[in-house]
Structures are given as structure tokens and as C-alpha cells.
């Protein structure tokens, strides 16, 4: 027996709502990363000597920051995937 037309409409609306929610999450995480990237660029451009400091067990700030930006990208990506799964999972249960 075919599903009622109203069910299709609700499913479409729910999918659209989930897409909007995941888009907002993505943009929020994007701006977090942009802030970190900009902060690093400000240090490189305006305070390059500060990157020679070695606060992390012998490794200087230049390397630590670079590794942090690379690793941070992956962390944010995993956070994003988990958040999207939660949103889309909630949509399908609802």
C-alpha cells in the first residue's frame, strides 16, 4: 500500500530541516577554523620571532602551530561528521 502523500511531504520537510541544521553546524565550525588560521597568519606576518619560542617540550611554536592546524582540521571534520549523524539520525527517528 502506498504511503499517504502527507508522509512524503513531512519527510521532505524533515530532510530540508536536517540539511539546514547541518549547514549551520558546518558554517560555525568553518569560522572557528578561519579564526585559528588567521591567528597563525598574524603571528607569521607581524610577529615571526614569536614563532621561535619553544613552550612545548623542545618543539617551537611554528611547528606546534602548523601541526595544530593540520590536526585541528581533522578534529573539526570528525566533530562535524558526528554532529551531522546526530541531526540526521534525529530526523529519521522523528
Amino acid at each position: 500500500m502506498a504511503a499517504p502523500a502527507g508522509d512524503d511531504e513531512r519527510a521532505t520537510t524533515a530532510r530540508g530541516g536536517a540539511a539546514d541544521a547541518t549547514r549551520r553546524i558546518g558554517l560555525a565550525l568553518f569560522w572557528v577554523y578561519v579564526a585559528c588560521y588567521l591567528a597563525f597568519m598574524v603571528l607569521v606576518l607581524l610577529f615571526p620571532e614569536s614563532l621561535s619560542l619553544r613552550p612545548f617540550g623542545g618543539v617551537n611554536l611554528a611547528i606546534a602551530a602548523g601541526m595544530g592546524l593540520i590536526g585541528g582540521a581533522l578534529v573539526l571534520a570528525i566533530v562535524y561528521m558526528a554532529a551531522c549523524r546526530a541531526v540526521e539520525g534525529g530526523q529519521s527517528r522523528g
Binding site: 540539511a19 577554523y33 588560521y37 617551537n60 582540521a73 571534520a77 562535524y80
Partner: protein, 580 residues
């Protein structure tokens, strides 16, 4: 430098390359429709696509160029790694899922999804071709550089070899074989770079690696006479009399006093020990007289701490000149914005089944690419201190580092570097082939074609692009490949990103706005590059001071210009759906 070929190295290399091409022919039987040729039927699993992203993206610029830049100039090569990886954040959070919903085969499909405009298709197809060609040049240069030490053939032979191999891959099965070539290449690249890094850490830091611990480096002179002969320190260059390999440690940190080697080190220990060491780097000075062109390579002792901070390559960071800082900022902006604007990356989103798969594959790609870029720091620093560098070629640092461990590893790494080029070049030729056959011939010129004819047209375009790529690779052979790729990123970010982002986020975007943004972004960035100090010096052979633009990387100006043009033109033209 001259290189001796090894039969074992040639055999391993041939096995790799033939294996990859054989796989391509096997998979080619499945992809005969346009949907199969351009988008692999949309059936690629997200994990495979994610690793294929790495295989597509990690080009000769990343592997050979960044390692070479770090080996010769220190930390600044790692800034390219950071910028290249950061661009994937734009791809994941802004582009990946929406673009999957928009297009079918090509980047032009995505931008034109709501307008059905021949103007958009034309502008974007041309932009795709320009970006693809600029990106192809460094790949072909890298291929030529690899073939010289491995097979003892001239640079042009390597360029032609990769051109023919890639054209065969793309012509046989299009996106299906391209995807699997990139998957294999991405996996091998990350895995073997991990192996090489482990060997570097196990070796630790060694004083005067490759020679006697108390050997003193002395200057070397390479002369090219007017009649084309090559002399080294005044005598003819032969296999027995050649430039000595360079790149050594002069002194270890004080805590290793009395020792000539640190022994195995953990990852952070390695970086800390290098920072406290004294390293022999090499400067190159050229002068020309009636006897020929003389390049003098002189040893320069430097503290590791000075090499592991910004300013080794981007001298402007410490010069205090505003133009130099703007140039650097412009480059980093282009790297950040360019990844998500590269047509050969964007078309990979059409090979998976839906937006969720597009998202997951991007995350897998970020993991693989991020891991690789962390390894490039160790590869570059390991090469810097390996005693195996060729002072005449920054692009050979990674393979020669492998050679300092064993000939077999050299062959494997060279083969992987070669398949690295194959993977990226095949992606670029696919993007260009789609731009010509699908966008220009089918949609702009509106020449009716059956599905079979569309595939044939794509294959003919691929052959044509392969020939162009070979010619350019021979013409630009002396350039560092990372530098060339920076240009491609600038043009892609200027031409494509404003249109893509505004289409996704601003409903008032019109087709005229998109056409204007793509056209102005592409032309302005191209013009800026052609008028820049770097091009004046390295391409035309003119004085840098004659350049008419204040800095060489255009992104800081041309990316905002693209956004501005799109907004202004869109506001001046009727919205989509309105009557003119």
C-alpha cells in the same frame, strides 16, 4: 648531477607503472556510457573516494615540491603544507554537500544548475581549462625530474612517458580507472612516506651523513660553456667527476657531545634535536662571462633554530617590506581558497551516490592528506640532513633521501612519485576533457551527440590535452613545482570560488553575475601573474624591478575582486525568474 641507473630500480619502477595501467584497462571494460566515463556511474564508495581525493590532490607539488623546499629552505615549505590542508576546510564545510546536489558531470554543470546558460558553461569551461593547464605544468616537470636519475633518460623523455601513460589511462576508462589509480596512488603514497619517516627517525641525526665525520664541505662550481659542455670545478662532468651530494649536519646539540650520531629518535625529539643542531646548507650564486655560465654552490652553516622558523624561503617575512608581506598573505589566501575551487577536485564529488557520502569521503580525504602533510616535514628535514641532496634540483630531494637508505627504496619511492604524477594528471585531464566535450561541444556549441559520441569526444579531448601537457612540461623544466602550483591555486580561487560560494549562499546571484565573476577573476589573476616580478625574472629573464604589480601572488586582490564583480553585476541585472 649525473645519476647511475640501477636495473633493479628500473624493474621495480616498470612493474608499478605497468600494474597501474593494466588495472586501468581491466576496469575500462565497465565504463562505456557518458555517466560512466565522466562520473563512474556515481557508484564509488565514500571510503575509496576519500582516499582517491588524497590521490588526486597530493601531486608532484606536494610530494616533490614541498619536500624539496623544506630540504633547501627549512620551515617555509611546511607553510605550503598548512595552506594546502587548510583549503579542505572550505571544501568540507562550505562546498561538499551543496555541490553534490547541483551538478552532474562537471564544475560547469554545478554553476549552471539553476540557470541553463550557455554563457556560464562557456566561461566556466574556459576557466577549467586554464586552471587545469596551469596545474598540469608542474606535474609534467616533476615527471621529467624523476626519470633523469631513475632511467638515465633526458627530462623530456620523462615528460613524454607520463603524458602517454596518463592519456592511455584516461582514454581507456575515464573516471572509473582514474578513481582507482588515484586510490592506489593515495594509499601507496601515505604508506611509503610513513615507512620513510620511520627510517628517518630510526637513523636519527648523523654528523656528515654519507661521508667521513670530520669531512669539511668546500664550494663547488658547475659551468655550462657556450658550446653546451658541462664542467665541474673546471673539469668535464662525468660519472666519476661530478657535483658532490650535499645536505649534512655539522654539529649535534651539546647533549650529544663527543658523539657523531643521536641514534633513533621519537618524532618530537627529532625536531627538538634538529633545532639545537648546526646544519650545512648550500647557497647558489650565478655569474656569466665569456667562458660560460658559472654556478657556485657554497656551504653555509646555520643553526637549526633559524631553519625551523618562517623566513628561509619567504625572505619578505623578515625584510619589513609591506609588499613582501602582502605577497605572502596573498599566497596563503589563495591556498586556503583554492582547494575547493579546483575543477579536478570538485568533479570527484559526482562519483559518490549522495551528499552524506560526499561529506564522509571529504573527511577521509582530510585524514589521509593531513597525515601526509605531517610526514612531509620529516621527509624534508630528513633530506636536508641526509648528505644525498642534488644541489641543482630541489624537486629530487625526496627520491634522493630514499636512495640514501637503499636503491630498492629509491626505486619504490620514485615509482610512487611517478604514479603520484599519473594520478593527478589523469584527474586534470578528466576535468579538461569534460570541459571540452561536455561543456563546450555538447552544451555551448549544442552539437547533438549520442552517448557513445560524447564518450568519444571526451577521449579525443583527453588526447589533445595530453599533448599540450607534454609540450608545457618540457618548456618549464627548471621551475620548482610548488611555486608553479601556487599560480594554479590563485587562478582557481579568483575565477571559481566567488561564483561557487555566492551561488550557494546568495539567492540574488544572477547568471550575468556568475559569468562576469568567472571571467574577471580568471583574466585579472592571469594578467597579474604575467606582469609579476617572479614571472619577469623566471620566465622572461627580465629584471624584477621592471614589473608593474606590487607583489607576485594576485589572490589578495583578485579573489575579492571576483566577489565584488559578482555582487555589482548581479544587482544590476534582473533576478532569476524576473521579467527583463
Amino acid at each position: 648531477m649525473l645519476y647511475e641507473t640501477s636495473p633493479a630500480a628500473v624493474a621495480i619502477f616498470a612493474a608499478f607503472v605497468l600494474g597501474v595501467i593494466g588495472l586501468s584497462f581491466y576496469l575500462g571494460r565497465k565504463a562505456q556510457s557518458a555517466q560512466g566515463y565522466y562520473a563512474a556511474h556515481g557508484e564509488i564508495h565514500w571510503f575509496v573516494n576519500g582516499i582517491a581525493f588524497a590521490g588526486d590532490y597530493l601531486s608532484a607539488a606536494s610530494f616533490l615540491g614541498i619536500c624539496g623546499m623544506i630540504a633547501f629552505h627549512g620551515y617555509d615549505g611546511f607553510l605550503y603544507s598548512i595552506g594546502f590542508l587548510a583549503g579542505w576546510i572550505v571544501a568540507l564545510f562550505v562546498i561538499a554537500e551543496p555541490i553534490k546536489a547541483l551538478g552532474r558531470f562537471t564544475f560547469a554543470d554545478a554553476l549552471d544548475a539553476r540557470f541553463n546558460s550557455r554563457g556560464i558553461k562557456l566561461a566556466v569551461a574556459i576557466s577549467t581549462l586554464v586552471v587545469s593547464i596551469f596545474y598540469l605544468i608542474p606535474q609534467m616537470v616533476g615527471a621529467g625530474d624523476l626519470i633523469v636519475p631513475l632511467l638515465g633518460l633526458p627530462h623530456a623523455a620523462g615528460v613524454i612517458l607520463v603524458g602517454v601513460a596518463v592519456t592511455m589511462i584516461v582514454v581507456t576508462a575515464g573516471m572509473v580507472s582514474t578513481t582507482w589509480v588515484q586510490f592506489i596512488k593515495g594509499s601507496l603514497l601515505v604508506f611509503f612516506c610513513g615507512i620513510l619517516t620511520a627510517l628517518i627517525l630510526d637513523r636519527g641525526l648523523v654528523v656528515n651523513a654519507g661521508r667521513c665525520a670530520d669531512a669539511v664541505p668546500v664550494p663547488q662550481v658547475r659551468t655550462v660553456t657556450p658550446d653546451g659542455r658541462v664542467l665541474v670545478d673546471g673539469a668535464a662532468q662525468t660519472n666519476k667527476h661530478d657535483l658532490r651530494p650535499v645536505g649534512t649536519i655539522a654539529a649535534l646539540p651539546a647533549r650529544y657531545a663527543g658523539k657523531t650520531s643521536t641514534g633513533p629518535l621519537r618524532p618530537l625529539e627529532y625536531l627538538a634535536a634538529l633545532e639545537d643542531s648546526t646544519i650545512v646548507t648550500w647557497s647558489a650564486k650565478k655569474h656569466v662571462d665569456e667562458a660560460g655560465t658559472h654556478t657556485t654552490y657554497s656551504p653555509v652553516e646555520r643553526r637549526g633554530a633559524d631553519l625551523l622558523k618562517p623566513g628561509g624561503y619567504f625572505k619578505g617575512l623578515t625584510s619589513g617590506r609591506l609588499a613582501d608581506r602582502l605577497d605572502f598573505a596573498s599566497l596563503m589566501l589563495a591556498l586556503f581558497c583554492g582547494t575547493a575551487s579546483l575543477p579536478h577536485i570538485l568533479i570527484r564529488y559526482y562519483t559518490v551516490k549522495d551528499a552524506a557520502a560526499a561529506r564522509k569521503s571529504t573527511v577521509v580525504g582530510i585524514a589521509a592528506i593531513g597525515a601526509f602533510y605531517v610526514l612531509t616535514l620529516y621527509l624534508g628535514l630528513g633530506a636536508m640532513t641526509s648528505g644525498a641532496l642534488d644541489p641543482t634540483s630541489t624537486n629530487m630531494a625526496a627520491p634522493l633521501l630514499a636512495k640514501s637508505f637503499s636503491t630498492a627504496l629509491f626505486a619504490v619511492i620514485s615509482a610512487i612519485a611517478f604514479t603520484t604524477v599519473l594520478g593527478t594528471v589523469s584527474g586534470l585531464i578528466m576535468a579538461g576533457s569534460g570541459a571540452v566535450a561536455h561543456d563546450l561541444v555538447e552544451n555551448v556549441l549544442r552539437i547533438p551527440m549520442t552517448d557513445h559520441e560524447k564518450v568519444r569526444c571526451g577521449k579525443i579531448a583527453a588526447v589533445g590535452l595530453g599533448i599540450v601537457a607534454m609540450a608545457l612540461g618540457i618548456l618549464f623544466r627548471s621551475f620548482n613545482v610548488s611555486f608553479l602550483v601556487g599560480w594554479a591555486f590563485n587562478i582557481a580561487a579568483s575565477a571559481n570560488l566567488p561564483a561557487l560560494v555566492m551561488l550557494l549562499f546568495w539567492p540574488r546571484t544572477t547568471k550575468q553575475g556568475i559569468i562576469a565573476a568567472v571571467t574577471v577573476g580568471m583574466l585579472s589573476s592571469l594578467a597579474w601573474i604575467l606582469l609579476s616580478a617572479d614571472t619577469f625574472e623566471k620566465v622572461y629573464g627580465w629584471s624584477r624591478d621592471a614589473s608593474v604589480v606590487p607583489f607576485s601572488q594576485p589572490g589578495l586582490v583578485t579573489i575579492p575582486l571576483g566577489f565584488l564583480v559578482l555582487v555589482v553585476v548581479s544587482l544590476l541585472t534582473p533576478p532569476r525568474g524576473a521579467r527583463p
